[in-house]
């Protein structure tokens, strides 16, 4: 077991790394060299951090450049082709399953490709396995069933899946950001500017973020997943599930964010002046009538609605 004294603190490691950058990749002046020597000997922790950082630097510098570059590129190519192969396998499994069951008239698999919604539209779908799928505004999914698996692909937008747990096939969920498996989960997926929002309401979901360890996401968790595979607890100003009941339910949401949220459900332009973007909105609003929501906002906050045209509404300070 290493004792605490032998592990350098992060601050010292950071300083050592800055020195490594200067000394190895720059042309250090005599002055810099002197400063470095001074830093190195001013504290034993500095020397310890330097010892580790420098040996890391030596390892990297010992890599044969040409061979290393080719190897890294080659391994990346292989990983990508493996991913594509997996996609192909899934496609074949679906086709294979379809052909197999087509010979048995009773087991015809539902093949619902390209379910999509327009702006402002929401759709409720029933999978042949008894799962319930809801599509929010401006969204698209593919849904496939084969003999041994269920596959939902989120192409864009937002979807909620209430998987039928009595069906024991695994439900695979593919998105551009991360893939997931579940058997009994009720979950919500939403593409956003920062990647993907994942909320689990029931059961559990095994999340495979890109280039990070898979992890279980449990009932009640709401995570933001980035394209690079980082996950963090999502900061929310409302109930992400609201739309599945036809409402926008928010708490202390900045008006700017509220307007951006609302504009997902409305064709045309909806703008919010910066002076009022920080005002807070709370309440539950019926999504069926976004015009009514705007009127309610204008009544409860010091703002006025400026209708440039029917499809261009600006919210300004009153």
């Amino acid at each position: 077991m290493p004792t605490p004294e032998r592990i350098p603190a992060q601050a010292q490691v950071d300083e050592a790394i800055d020195w490594l950058v200067k000394l190895r990749f720059d042309d250090p002046s005599a002055h810099h060299q002197q400063q470095f020597q001074h830093w190195l000997h001013s504290h034993p922790h500095n020397a310890l951090a330097w010892q580790r950082v420098n040996s890391l630097g030596n390892e990297l510098a010992g890599l044969p450049p040409d061979l290393s570059r080719r190897t890294l590129e080659g391994s990346q190519r292989q990983r990508m082709s493996r991913r594509n192969n997996l996609k192909l396998l899934v496609a074949f499994a679906v086709v294979g399953g379809a052909l197999w069951t087509a010979r048995e008239p009773l087991g015809l698999p539902a093949l619902m490709a390209d379910s999509r919604t327009a702006t402002g539209e929401r759709r409720d779908l029933q999978g042949s396995d008894g799962s319930r799928i809801q599509l929010n505004t401006a969204s698209a999914i593919d849904l496939r069933y084969s003999a041994d698996q269920r596959l939902l692909t989120l192409i864009r937008g937002e979807v909620s899946l209430d998987s039928n747990a009595s069906d024991n096939r695994t439900f695979h969920i593919d998105t551009a950001i991360a893939d997931m498996d579940t058997r009994n989960g009720q979950l919500l997926l939403r593409e956003n500017d920062d990647g993907l929002l994942l909320a689990v309401r029931r059961g559990e979901v095994l999340l495979f973020p890109s280039s990070a360890r898979p992890r279980w996401v449990k009932t009640g968790e709401v995570l933001q997943v980035s394209a690079s595979g980082q996950t963090e607890v999502a900061a929310l100003h409302g109930d992400p599930w609201g739309w599945t009941d036809g409402v926008l339910s928010v708490q202390q949401m900045p008006l700017g964010e509220f307007v951006a949220e609302l504009s997902r459900y409305r064709p045309g332009l909806l703008r919010c002046a910066p002076e009022v973007a920080g005002l807070r909105v709370s309440g539950t609003y019926q999504l069926a009538d976004t015009e009514q929501i705007l009127l309610l906002i204008a009544r409860s906050l010091p703002v006025r609605l400026d209708y440039r045209t029917r499809y261009w509404v600006s919210i300004d300070a009153a």
Binding site: F25, D26, P65, R69, S75
Partner: protein, 171 residues
């Protein structure tokens, strides 16, 4: 780090007795080979002995399969890297191939570098490779990427920070 942050060997032993057979068949269904599955199951428990675990496991099978899946991915990465290394060697002039002993050091370092690169933003990755493998200096990289020297210095420090964490994570 305190000892009680880790699963005690006796706990791992209990987990082993209760779930080892299950894990082996879980793995076998995924890798399609009995021997390979047995090795991976063994590695999973070895990893468990080393892992820091604050609370007792509530759902041991979910945890075990998650660790095992990570190992499967690691193994695949390593094999892909080794294959790419062999292919790259074939492109090198004879006599420039590293010794067998050196080969393992290079592969270990490349494996970590490969993982680090995937965690970095494209510009940081590019700057780091230009510095580390192409031997460009900071002013040269700054000119090439059309960014300031300070940005390049920050990018390189960030890349090295990621390499450092991967290098000393298990220590």
């Amino acid at each position: 780090m305190q000892m009680n942050d880790m699963l005690k060997p006796a706990e791992v032993d209990l987990l082993y007795q209760a779930h080892h057979a299950w894990l082996r068949s879980w793995l076998r269904a995924r890798v399609g080979c009995r021997e390979h599955a047995a090795d991976l199951a063994q590695d999973t428990f070895v990893r468990l002995l080393r892992a820091r675990q604050v609370s007792p496991l509530k759902e041991p099978r979910a945890y075990l399969s998650s660790v095992a899946r990570g190992l499967m991915i690691d193994q695949f990465r390593r094999r892909a890297l080794e294959r790419a290394y062999q292919e790259s060697l074939a492109c090198l002039p004879e006599g420039e191939a590293p010794s067998e002993e050196h080969r393992l050091v290079i592969l270990d370092t490349l494996e970590r570098l490969d993982r680090a690169l995937q965690l970095l933003k494209p510009r940081v990755r590019q700057a780091f490779l230009l510095a580390q493998l192409d031997g460009l200096s900071i002013p040269q990289i700054a000119a090439h990427l059309e960014v300031s020297r300070a940005t390049v210095e920050r990018d390189l420090a960030r890349a090295l920070g990621t390499c450092y964490r991967l290098r000393y994570a298990d220590a």
